[in-house]
Amino acid sequence: MKREHLILLAVFLLLALVPYAAELTGQTSWTRLVGQALIYGMAAASLNFILGYGGMVSFGHAAFFGIGGYVVGILYHHFDAGTSFLGLIPGTDQMLITLPAAVIVAGLAAALVGAMSLRTGGVQFIMITLAFAQMFFFLFISLKTYGGEDGIMVRRTNSLPGLDMKNKATLYWVVLCFAAAYYLFLRRLVQSSFGQIIAGIRQNERRMAAMGISTYRYKLAAFVLSGMGAGLAGALMVNFLRFASPDMMHWSRSGELMIMVILGGVGTLAGPFIGAGVLFTLETTLARYTEHWMLPVGILLLIVVLTTRGGLMALIRRLGGKR
């Protein structure tokens, strides 16, 4: 336990130093790269909670990511234009309002999708979550008021009282704090009573039902929690990019999140963050050297699948000699 705390603290401090290191070495874009990877890591980790711990393979997770992002975008749009959403809800650029709003709306969407999808299982569940995500995608693509497929610009990052959110390093640290808090939350969540029940359901749903657990309700609750996490990540991403577009909920984005989870290590806490970091860094770094970056990325992914069992986390553990 002690050792794990030390490692976590060290990683957090290292990540906190990224803006300074970037400044010193002149590689200033690393701040953004790491920030974006952290946000993707959060989204992937939220997916991993249902996928890795709960055994629910959702192929529509980007929908909640996108919905969270659009909440920020739409609220900013109305704030900027001085209008209100459906004539009822005024816009805002206050992060303390937009983030909770994004989390709640994404949670509601997840409740809707989960309530229907969780009646199925296996590959049917994969496909039905994908189907709902596609419906959201087509919905947002036809919303002319909010930019349609062009997306919606958020000219200024949401404000937090007392902080200069225009400063890239500040924004990065805010994101880092959210990512760290979310990591700790997930760590607690999987150890909680609820988390244990979810892990039990993944291993043997029939047995859990025979012990009196209404598995559907627990799975739905897990699905909603996970959707809320993705919504938070999406809201942060829009603040970071200052842009929301239907791309955020395209099915390939859902696939990418799943790839990050699998690459990093299914059912591990740090795996999704590592997977996101590695995939994202790999893509952007390779893209600097070749237009055909997809080829080496594909080959590397293939090598990882064929040679490791349990993704990069398994590799790290093996190197660390833990098992």
């Binding site: 049917q124 189907a131 596609q134 989870v261």
Partner: protein, 304 residues
């Protein structure tokens, strides 16, 4: 009335294309338990190989043969090189591996053929159209596609229901352990099924190449609809893939053709158009959601 009939034919033609893709996918899924995201890449391989050879030689039929050969070879290579190592693994590992294969196939295609879309024309025999009803000319080539699709369906039916290999395939789709217990060369069967699936995907690609734009990523667009067909039809069921493919093809075409018009009866024109198309884009997904809510394992689930 004529319009309705024509749209039905269009739906049928789209349906058989979906069937060609879904038949292989559902067999691979049902027998090996592999979620093959790269199935669409084999469709692309077939289309590219056929178009390129057709452009070089001027012969559609040469293109057809090379397209089939190329996709079957690609399929066997994928099976031997990658999938064979992953049968015992988790579904998720297979997802990651086949995703990697998509990247590799797409980018290799760019390296070999460049980024410009390729073009082949309809073979001379099938250029032009036939007046199948008074006042309804229909492109001969599309009729040819329908005929090929139906012929393949018949062939698959005979193969699966009347031959020993087919018996093994059926048995494999319902009970994998049993086939193993029969002492059959499982590895050989798996490779053969994968090659057959790839061949059918390649055929779909070849047939589509004179109609659509042959370009990188063309397989990624159609693979989603194919998965929808597989799931609605029931994993592992070729009959399900056929029924679901045709129904979905018709349903999709009908929605696109008539929903906006119907909506215009009850609401203003432009909004009806936009809503109608929005809903028809979602149509196949809505249909899948509905089917799964009623029959969680699809229409013709092979496994009990």
């Amino acid at each position: 009335m004529i319009l309705l009939f024509e749209q039905l034919l269009n739906g049928l033609q789209y349906g058989v294309t979906l069937f060609l893709l879904a038949a292989g996918l559902t067999l691979i899924f049902g027998i090996m338990g592999v979620i093959n995201l790269a199935h669409g890449a084999l469709y692309m391989v077939g289309a590219f190989a056929a178009s390129w050879v057709a452009i070089q030689t001027g012969s559609f039929w040469g293109g057809l043969l090379s397209g089939l050969a190329a996709s079957a070879i690609a399929g066997v290579a994928v099976e031997l090189g990658v999938m064979r190592r992953l049968y015992a693994r988790d579904h998720l590992d297979q997802v990651l591996a086949t995703f990697a294969l998509i990247l590799i196939f797409n980018q290799s295609t760019v390296l070999i053929f460049g980024r410009q879309p390729l073009f082949t024309s309809v073979p001379d025999v099938f250029s032009g159209s036939v007046e199948i009803l008074p006042g309804l000319p229909y492109p001969t080539y599309r009729l040819f596609v329908i005929a090929v699709g139906l012929a393949v369906a018949l062939g698959l039916y005979l193969l699966i229901n009347k031959t020993r290999v087919g018996m093994l395939v059926r048995a494999g789709a319902t009970n994998r352990q049993m086939v193993r217990a029969l002492g059959v060369n499982i590895q050989g069967l798996y490779t053969a099924v994968f090659a057959l699936g790839a061949l059918l995907a390649g055929l779909a690609g070849v047939m589509a190449s004179p109609i659509v734009s042959v370009q990188v990523g063309m397989g990624d667009e159609i693979i989603l609809a194919t998965f929808v067909v597989v799931v609605i039809g029931g994993v592992g069921s070729v009959k399900g893939a056929f029924v679901a493919g045709i129904v979905l093809g018709m349903f999709d075409t009908m929605l696109r053709a008539f929903l906006p018009g119907l909506l215009q009866q009850v609401m203003p024109g432009p909004e009806a158009q936009a809503l109608g198309v929005g809903v028809s884009s979602m149509g196949i997904y809505l249909m899948m959601a509905l089917v799964l809510l009623v029959r969680p394992r699809g229409l013709f689930a092979a496994r009990g």
